[in-house]
């Protein structure tokens, strides 16, 4: 019963945009620099993008129900600062678990205000962004917090031949993928994202699911904070700043819609790698570092533009057309 135009205007065609972008970016930098297309550099890109991939996985969970979490960068900082100040000598596993735990708690605070008090997510998480940054600065006394040596070792170590940060990102990916595609909880996320009222009518506990998603997003932010700290050895007062935008950009770049209901676990990871690839290429090309935020801003804008257009397209297709006799 599908017409040709319906097939051609299939919104899924737009899902190919990031893949095409990745190809273009890869070809461009391979041609422009010698060191880009090497194994060492590919591994480097993956290592550098692990923390962002983890963060973007969390961000996309929230985006799937048309929410947003702007506080993830500050959450990273609080997690890194708390552990770095109070228990720097803890074993690596404790670092990771504590990072998650702190994130989960902070996520629950966001979730409380968004779900229970029903304040717009962006304003809750925007105020939490400042609030948590202040808390982080207070904990660290505005000083640099250094990562313990064994944490640094973790970031350079490998397990089963896979560098640990990449492994952690991979595990996060598997977790989110199983959650979203394999569990009733995950499927209900998509229903809520498509039509929250409809989901409620279908008997889905919309509030509980949304609450859990914000909590999980915080958890991933905490984990990401620990991973990033282990890689860059220290957390300065700007640690994690603007990561929230990078995470949203990565998620949306990977096909997660800001309007909810669309996206999967692989998209945000792909988006994170793509963003890191661009940055990596620019560094190799020795461009003005002041250009990076400009480029990131432009990328976010374009990605959001595409998402908006795609959403309008699928809305138009979704509206039941009146059958006009041909």
């Amino acid at each position: 019963m599908k017409t040709l135009t319906q097939r051609l205007s299939n919104p899924r065609l737009l899902d190919l945009v990031p893949v095409v972008l990745m190809l273009l970016v890869a070809v461009f930098f391979s041609a422009a620099t010698d060191s880009f297309a090497t194994w060492a550099n590919v591994k480097n890109i993956l290592l550098q993008s692990s923390h962002l991939a983890i963060l973007a996985l969390g961000a996309s969970l929230v985006l799937l129900v048309a929410g947003v979490d702007l506080s993830v960068g500050a959450t990273m900082y609080v997690a890194a600062a708390l552990i770095g100040v109070f228990m720097p000598g803890a074993p690596v596993l404790i670092w990771l678990l504590a990072g998650c735990g702190i994130g989960l708690v902070l996520g629950a605070i966001n979730a409380f205000f968004v779900v229970r008090v029903r304040v717009a997510a962006f304003i809750v998480t925007l105020s939490m962004l400042f609030l948590l940054r202040g808390v982080g600065l207070w904990i660290s006394d505005t000083k640099m917090v250094f990562a313990a040596p064994h944490l640094l070792e973790m970031s350079r170590a490998s397990f089963l031949g896979i560098p640990v940060p990449i492994l952690l990102a991979g595990l996060s990916l598997v977790f989110v993928h199983l959650l979203l595609s394999g569990t009733p909880f995950g499927r209900s996320v998509y229903a809520i994202g498509d039509d929250p009222e409809g989901a409620r009518r279908a008997g889905i506990p919309v509030e509980r699911v949304t609450f859990m998603l914000f909590v999980l997003c915080g958890g991933f932010a905490g984990l990401s904070g620990v991973v990033l700290m282990s890689q860059i050895a220290a957390a300065s007062s700007t640690f994690g700043q603007e990561k929230e935008f990078m995470a949203i950009a990565a998620a949306v770049l990977g096909g997660t819609s800001l309007f909810g209901g669309r996206g999967n676990a692989f998209g945000p990871v792909f988006g994170a790698i793509l963003m890191q690839t661009v940055q990596n290429g620019l560094v190799l090309m020795d461009t003005d570092p002041y250009l990076y935020p400009l480029i990131t801003g432009a990328v976010i804008f374009i990605v959001v533009l595409i998402d908006t257009l795609r959403n309008q397209l699928s809305e138009r297709l979704g509206r039941s057309p009146i059958r006009v006799e041909a």
């Binding site: 019963m1 599908k2 319906q6 199983l178 394999g182 569990t183 009733p184 909880f185 499927r187 209900s188 998509y190 229903a191 994202g193 498509d194 039509d195 409809g198 989901a199 009518r201 279908a202 008997g203 889905i204 209901g261 669309r262 699928s314 297709l317 979704g318 039941s320 057309p321 009146i322 059958r323 006009v324 006799e325």
Partner: protein, 511 residues
């Protein structure tokens, strides 16, 4: 106890009030296994409220319901389904971003391991395929739902309900977005369900469908179940009289005579892909053109295109007062066109603003206005007072009270009234009496006739054929995006049966 003596479902003495206004009064009826019960009534008669109570969405203030003789007290939609009452809403509950199988099984996924929350995708697909087969829907369980046609979505919804083995299914206006073959398929499925002993409660505006298919008919009017009779004992006129509740002549004002024909709007061959096809008509000053048609026939879409609310990038011309016209809402307002939306809460009112603010909005946006123009507040208040007086809007305070504090009928008068501050020349009314009581209806009818008498051209869209017949000079019938016929008022009014037959075009007669 003899099984036949106990009805499958019965309710009695159901009362329900919203914000102090009682909308249901001692409603009661019963349905036997395998029976097809038609429920009809005008907009606002309490059909949906009654069904929402049975479906567990609303709770009654008093009254009791019994299912197979046992007390049935649903507190949420899931309770109804668990008890065996399926509800297929007019607004379908389909998630376009998910697959057919996911839509079918959401909320009750089969698990791979008993203790772990993982979905057994294979079992999910098999169960879905099974359920789809039962309603004869031939789509893949993996197909994304946005790709389904409206009829397929409807059948999917039915399959979802049927697969949970209900004893009774409520259909709320199931045919509104269906094509004729899809309707036929739906009726086959329903007949099949009846044969399995499932009770069918069927709400519809399409009287001919209800008459043809039902065993019994319940008529609701202003919250009372005024009739519950075997269908074969009812005539069409008898049904209509029960719905309206009084001889039609008392409810509707006299239709003012038409003088010399001076067209205000002329539409030639208006076509919009997938929405309208070759629609032509004109409305003269002082004329009320009724537009009949089922929901999804393109009648509201036609109105929205004429007012520039929906895009028109197809062919055809619109001329307004003799000049070609490419509508945008702003042009329309400045050219004294008016549009009463069918959705007053979401498209009509500034709910939290005062009546004056609501009533002044069109005037402030019309001809001769501009962003920089200072607002003369005294003038606005006096304008609002005039309109409120004219429409008999019952409100204590026009300046401070927000619009949402009014009753439905008075809210509708406010939406109507904002267009009357500057006398309009063409008024498009889309379902002007949806969800308001008979008293308010009567007053809105009076205003429409009065305005027409003053030379206003009116395009009146309604799903109530009685309303169209009572007010219009001519009735244009729409079906599948086309103008399928125009009926003139004869001495005895309109030939309702012919209009209805034309609106449901061929499906009834051909089937």
């Amino acid at each position: 106890m003899d099984a036949k003596a106990v009805p499958l479902f019965e309710c009695s003495g159901i009362n329900k009030s919203f914000s102090g206004t009682q909308v249901l009064f001692d409603v009661g009826f019963a349905i036997k296994a395998g029976e097809f019960l038609g429920v009809i009534g005008e907009n606002g008669s309490g059909k949906s409220t009654t069904m929402n109570i049975i479906g567990g969405i609303l709770r009654p203030d008093s009254g009791e319901m019994r299912l197979n003789g046992d007390a049935y007290v649903p507190t949420q939609p899931n309770d109804a389904m668990e008890a065996g009452i399926g509800f297929i809403h007019q607004e379908l509950n389909i998630f376009g971003n998910m697959s057919v199988a996911d839509n079918m099984m959401i909320g009750r996924y089969p698990r791979r391991w008993e203790k772990l929350p993982f979905i057994n995708h294979r079992a999910k697909r098999l169960a879905t395929a099974e359920a789809l087969k039962r309603v004869g829907l031939d789509v893949s369980p993996d197909a994304p739902c946005w790709s389904l046609a409206p009829g397929e979505r409807q059948l999917l919804e039915i399959a979802k309900v049927v697969s949970q083995n209900p004893r009774m299914i409520i259909f709320d206006e199931p045919t509104t977005s269906l094509t004729e073959p899809e309707c036929r398929r739906l009726f086959e499925v329903i007949a099949d369900l009846q044969a399995q002993g499932i009770g069918i409660v069927y709400i519809s505006h399409v009287l001919s469908d209800v008459q043809r298919l039902s065993d019994r008919i319940v008529v609701l009017r202003d919250g009372h179940a005024v009739k519950s009779t075997a269908t074969r004992d009812l005539t069409r006129d008898g049904i209509v009289e029960a719905m309206v509740g009084r001889p039609v002549s008392q409810l509707y004002p006299d239709v003012p005579p038409l003088g010399e024909r001076r067209p205000v709007i002329e539409v030639q061959g208006l076509t919009q892909p997938r929405v309208l096809k070759d629609v032509s008509f004109s409305i003269a000053a002082g004329e009320v053109l009724g537009v009949a048609g089922l929901m999804g026939s393109g009648r509201s879409e036609l109105a929205r295109i004429l007012f520039g609310l929906d895009p028109h990038d197809g062919t055809g011309t619109i001329s307004y007062e003799g000049a070609p016209f490419d509508p945008s809402p702003r042009d329309c307002v400045s050219k004294r066109m008016a549009f009463l939306t069918e959705d007053r809460r979401h498209e009509g009112l500034l709910l939290t603003q005062s009546l004056t603010t609501n009533l002044e909005l069109v005037h402030l946006s019309g001809a001769g206005s501009g962003a920089h123009v200072p607002v003369d507040r005294k003038q606005q208040v006096s304008n609002a007072e005039d309109v409120a007086h004219r429409l008999r809007i019952k409100a204590r305070d026009l300046v401070r009270l927000p619009a949402k504090s009014l009753s439905g009928g008075n809210q509708q008068k406010v939406v109507l009234g904002k267009w009357l501050v500057d006398a309009p020349r063409l008024f498009i009314l889309d379902e002007p009496t949806r969800g308001i009581d008979v008293g308010a209806k009567e007053e809105i009818y009076r205003v429409i006739a009065e305005l027409a008498g003053q030379g206003l051209a009116v395009m009146l869209i309604s799903s109530e054929l009685e309303e169209l017949a009572g007010l219009s000079h001519r009735i244009m019938v729409m079906s599948r995006g086309m103008n399928v016929g125009v009926f003139e008022r004869q001495d005895g009014g309109f030939d309702r049966a012919a209009i209805m037959a034309r609106a449901t075009a061929a499906d009834v007669e051909a089937a």
